[in-house]
């Protein structure tokens, strides 16, 4: 079995990270913003696991496990805040969440 080169992992993870960043910049839906954030963190996971396959170590996988757990925490808190925002105002887009300016 030929090993997948490190560059392949990094390309995939770079693409996914870029898609996540792109989503964070152009999308306006609050939940889509959270999903894009998760995409960025999961791109980091792919890169870590790929790096482990290349280096033959395990620390990257441990790091990826921590990222998976804490990304879930962040998503939970984010969804909680979105629900709190929805209770005050039926917003659909992040353009409507801008009481503070200047």
């Amino acid at each position: 079995m030929t090993a997948i080169p490190l560059e392949a992992f990094l390309t995939v993870s770079g693409l996914i990270f870029g898609i996540g960043m792109f989503g964070l910049i152009v999308r306006r839906n609050l939940i889509t913003l959270l999903m894009s954030l998760e995409l960025c963190l999961n791109a980091v996971n792919i890169a870590f696991v790929g790096a482990d396959a290349h280096l033959g170590l395990v620390e990257g996988q441990i790091f990826a496990l921590f990222i998976i757990a804490l990304a879930a925490v962040e998503a939970a808190v984010g969804l909680g805040i979105i629900i709190a925002i929805f209770r005050y105002r039926k917003v659909e887009s992040s353009d409507e969440v801008r009481d503070m300016r200047g």
């Binding site: 709190a84 925002i85 005050y88």
Partner: protein, 488 residues
């Protein structure tokens, strides 16, 4: 090689060196359990004194702490981390003094507040002594998630939720960027220990550069340096004011520590690019923060932009990439934590008044109603400005010194201009308080002795540490030497 090291990390090290963290950790879980079982009326009576008591016990345990590297090299207890931890707990105590009445008056007294602020403090303490990227990541998330929740904790306030959501998105981006940087550093060196990464002599130097760039962008976003600062004023304005005080002081200290730890190693290999990039970001941040603060109408927003500008001052000290720069930044961070906590808590005190709207004009003639409070606030503003007998002067003078040793004259010039601009808004507040007449009388009911004591302590230490900087400087000086010489 990896698995043996990880198994080694599991064995329990010297517990005496993590005693304060253990106390705070235990306290957080006790508070968590009590919050489940107590009645709402009991919570108000039990949780605040218990939390404060736990913090005081943690403070008292510091003389027992032994310095050293612990838990298989993942956790470093040195003088730098110890002094940051002591001040983090002290400032958390002053924030606690304001919390009960502030949240009760707004019908937002939640038991969650006490254990979340305790966990956040624990995260800041862990962040202060971590060299390992996994520990940095977990501590960073612990602090950040705590801040998101604390920001959203004000019932009936939409801007509180709005600030929390903006903070969550930008905080998430910054953590994603920093951990993406960690990947490249890991590929470069095969290690997640910052010291091993930065002392590693590998051939794929581009991975290290890529990693450091992402890592530093992540942390720049976390501390609110200028191209990535959008969240900071909104989060600080939306948050309950005691929480803002906590974020602006303990949060800022904690987020800068990993950058300070990275700096000595980088200064050897990448001296010039480091100086150029960090110096440029520092200059833009100082100018932008101070110019935008000039036109603010809301006192919390004004102090937030002043906080952005201060991030620029810290980055300027970091840009100098020298021993004196490390010491200057650590001193300035501690000093700024004290004065920003004092300023935000003064605002929290004034917000008890029913018609207080946080507008700048509300400060006119404040000395007639609150002579002592106005004097204390003036001292804190002068300290932020950097007027001689106060701590701000010592902090800024140290940063100037470190910059001049590295011959960064452009950054010095920008810093002088930025400080000149900042005179505009700090002095305007002082003029309003002392030279304008009172339009309406305001009064504060429901004040507690703890609030008064903590405001007096913060204002007094803003002067005391400026007159006698050696009280703190002794510890910082030794810790800076250790950072540069490398750990044993």
């Amino acid at each position: 090689m990896g698995i043996e090291r990880l198994v080694g990390a599991v064995e329990i090290g010297k517990l005496s060196s993590v005693l304060p963290e253990l106390i705070i950790f235990t306290l957080a879980f006790i508070l968590f359990a009590l919050d489940l079982f107590l009645k709402p009326s009991q919570k108000k009576a039990i949780l605040p004194p218990l939390t404060a008591g736990g913090y005081i016990i943690a403070l008292l345990s510091f003389p027992l702490v032994e310095t050293g590297i612990n838990f298989g090299g993942t956790y470093v207890v040195d003088k730098l981390s110890l002094i940051i931890k002591v001040f983090a707990i002290l400032i958390a105590l002053t924030v606690l003094a304001f919390s009960r009445i502030y949240f009760s008056e707004r019908k937002s007294f939640y038991g969650e507040y006490y254990y979340i602020i305790t966990f956040t403090l624990l995260g800041a303490m862990i962040l202060a002594s971590s060299y390992n990227l996994i520990v940095v990541y977990v501590a960073l998330e612990l602090v950040s998630v705590g801040f998101y929740i604390l920001t959203a904790l004000l019932r009936g306030s939409f801007i509180s939720k709005e600030g929390a959501f903006k903070y969550l998105i930008f905080g998430g981006i910054s953590i994603a960027l920093a951990s993406y940087g960690a990947v490249f550093m890991y590929i470069y060196s095969g290690s997640v220990d910052l010291r091993e990464i930065l002392t590693h002599k590998g051939e794929d130097l581009h991975y290290l550069i890529l990693g450091l760039v992402f890592f530093m962008i992540g942390f720049a976003a976390k501390v609110g340096a200028v191209p990535f600062h959008f969240w900071l004023p909104d989060a600080y304005e939306g948050a309950p004011t005691p929480v803002t005080a906590f974020m602006a002081s303990v949060g800022k200290m904690a987020f800068f520590i990993p950058v300070i730890r990275v700096m000595p190693y980088i200064s050897e290999t990448f001296h010039l690019p480091w100086v150029l990039t960090v110096g440029a970001i520092a200059g833009i941040t100082m100018l932008y923060g101070n110019v935008v603060a000039l036109v603010q109408k809301n006192i919390k927003r004004l102090l937030s932009y002043s906080s952005v500008a201060h991030s620029g001052y810290f980055l300027a000290g970091i840009a100098s990439a020298s021993l004196i720069g490390v010491k200057a930044v650590v001193y300035f961070l501690i000093v700024y934590a004290i004065i920003s906590a004092g300023a935000f808590l003064t605002v929290a005190y004034l917000e008890k008044n029913k018609d207080w709207s946080n507008r700048i004009q509300e400060f006119s003639g404040l000395r007639f109603n609150f002579p002592y409070l106005a004097f204390g606030f003036m001292v804190l503003l002068l300290a932020m400005l950097g007027v001689p007998p106060t701590v701000g002067f010592v902090g800024k003078a140290l940063v100037f010194t470190s910059l001049s040793f590295s011959s960064l004259w452009v950054v010095i010039l920008i810093m002088i201009i930025a400080t000149g601009i900042s005179t505009g808004y700090y002095l305007r507040l002082i003029v309003l308080m002392y030279m304008k007449d009172r339009e309406k009388t305001i009064s504060v009911e429901n004040k507690s002795i703890y609030e008064v004591i903590s405001l007096i302590l913060l204002s007094a230490s803003a002067v005391l540490l400026g007159v006698l900087p050696s009280i703190v400087w002794r510890f910082i000086s030794e810790s800076g030497d250790i950072l540069f010489k490398g750990l044993k």
